[in-house]
């Protein structure tokens, strides 16, 4: 299922753990607070924060996420109309099989923090992904997975910020790709660079839009920040023009993202070898959720190591640890 549950000492921490697992930025995930952390005596934690989250539909999706993904579109628009705020039937069984230590606390009703967090959560439209994750990969601290259908989805937690503009419709991906391409073509023209733009409809509702040409560095920016911004704006522009609620647009410039994640995967494998050889855990530099996911995914299948994420927010980073046996 696409909803996952994570825990942490604070709600923020639980959310961070979720973002790691989903491999998206905070803006592209929706959260639901199931339980607030309860402070015990002397600051000891009596209960962990528990958050339920998933990738926001039509939000960014890293390429590496495509496998195991099965589009769950029973009749397209019909599936969407059934998802008015609060009306969604939840069968939140996490793909995680390792949740034997699931906190017993029932979702709290009417907690103020939950309400605040839920400000960030948009209403559900349709299931974007089926995320199968291997069990027991040790990425989460104190992972919890259990059916959380009962009472966990309060209408008050639903917000529809992104989609308050219009209802979403299914727009042919080719059409969206065309709009995206035209938008980017016009944009690079304003930039005064000569570039070609191609839009390719891939499997699993992903539209890959590639900008190619020479001297495109400024469209990528430091650490790809401008590229990410371009992608954001392209998605918004397409949404504005087509009201599309389906599909997922990924923008790449000069193959930057592809090359980068390939390089990152190679790097991660190298680190894993080091860790296996030395038996010493090794922390990587802070990375975005997307990048962290590349590392996690790459090393999931590598024996002898496991990966965890540590640190808050911008300092969040992956640590490769030798597997205990």
């Amino acid at each position: 299922m696409e909803w996952i549950e994570t825990t942490g000492k604070s709600i923020e921490e639980a959310k961070e753990a979720a973002l790691d697992e989903l491999g998206v930025d905070e803006q592209d995930a929706e959260f639901e607070v199931l339980a607030e952390p309860k402070a015990g005596l002397f600051g000891r934690m009596r209960g962990e924060a528990r958050v339920r989250s998933r990738v926001r539909p039509t939000a960014p999706r890293p390429k590496d996420d495509r496998r195991n993904r099965r589009r769950n579109r029973a009749g397209g628009a019909a599936g969407e109309t059934a998802s008015a705020p609060g009306a969604v039937a939840t069968t939140a069984v996490s793909a995680e099989a390792s949740g034997s230590d699931a906190p017993a606390a029932a979702p709290a009703g009417g907690d103020p923090v939950g309400e605040a967090i839920a400000e960030a959560a948009a209403a559900v439209t349709e299931s974007p992904a089926d995320k199968g994750r291997p069990a027991g990969s040790g990425r989460r601290n104190g992972s919890a997975s259990a059916g959380t259908g009962r009472g966990s989805r309060r209408a008050t937690e639903e917000r529809n910020e992104e989609r308050d503009k219009m209802s979403n419709v299914d727009v042919p991906l080719e059409e969206q790709g065309k709009v995206a391409r035209e938008f980017l073509l016009g944009l690079v023209q304003e930039f005064g660079v000569a570039a070609e733009v191609t839009a390719t409809v891939g499997d699993e509702d992903v539209i890959d839009v590639a900008v190619t040409g020479t001297d495109l560095g400024m469209l990528i920016g430091p650490k790809g920040t401008t590229l990410l911004a371009l992608q954001d704006l392209t998605r918004s522009a397409v949404q504005q023009k087509t009201s599309a609620g389906n599909g997922r647009i990924n923008v790449d410039v000069a193959g930057y993202r592809r090359k980068r994640s390939e390089a990152l995967a190679r790097f991660a494998l190298q680190i894993a070898e080091n860790v296996k050889a030395t038996g010493v855990r090794q922390a990587l530099e802070p990375m975005s959720a997307v990048d962290r996911k590349v590392v996690h995914d790459t090393l999931t299948d590598v024996d002898g190591v496991s990966t965890i994420s540590e640190g808050e927010d911008a300092r969040r980073h992956v640590v490769v640890v030798p597997a205990e046996d």
Binding site: Q27, A120, A122, E161, E162, D164, K165, F183, G186, L187, E190, F191, G192, M218, L219, G221, T225, T226, L228, A229, L230, D232, L233, S236, A237, Q240, K241
Partner: protein, 90 residues
């Protein structure tokens, strides 16, 4: 920092064009998009205003779109050697 700036013309035509392009493609009322340019200590500030109903579209969830607009417009400014900042005014 003793460069003279002429405040009558936008000193960052490319960045301004990019901002115009972005804004008009993100809003319902492109005809209500307007941009004012003013000099700053070391560059240009572009003040974007849109129809009140379109504010959300150029700001986005948690300012995400605004952030992206700034990032791209700044890149365009860098290309013409101008430090550009973007303000969204209502």
């Amino acid at each position: 920092m003793s460069e003279t700036v002429d405040s009558d013309v936008p000193e960052a035509p490319r960045a301004t064009a990019v901002l115009t392009y972005l804004a008009t493609h993100l809003v319902d009322g492109p005809e209500q998009v307007s941009i004012e340019s003013s000099p700053t200590r070391n560059g240009v500030k572009l003040s974007l205003s849109v129809a009140p109903d379109d504010m959300g579209k150029v700001i986005g969830r948690r300012g995400r779109i605004a952030q992206s607009i700034r990032s791209v417009v700044r890149a365009a400014g860098a290309r013409e050697g101008v430090d550009v900042s973007v303000d969204i005014v209502d």
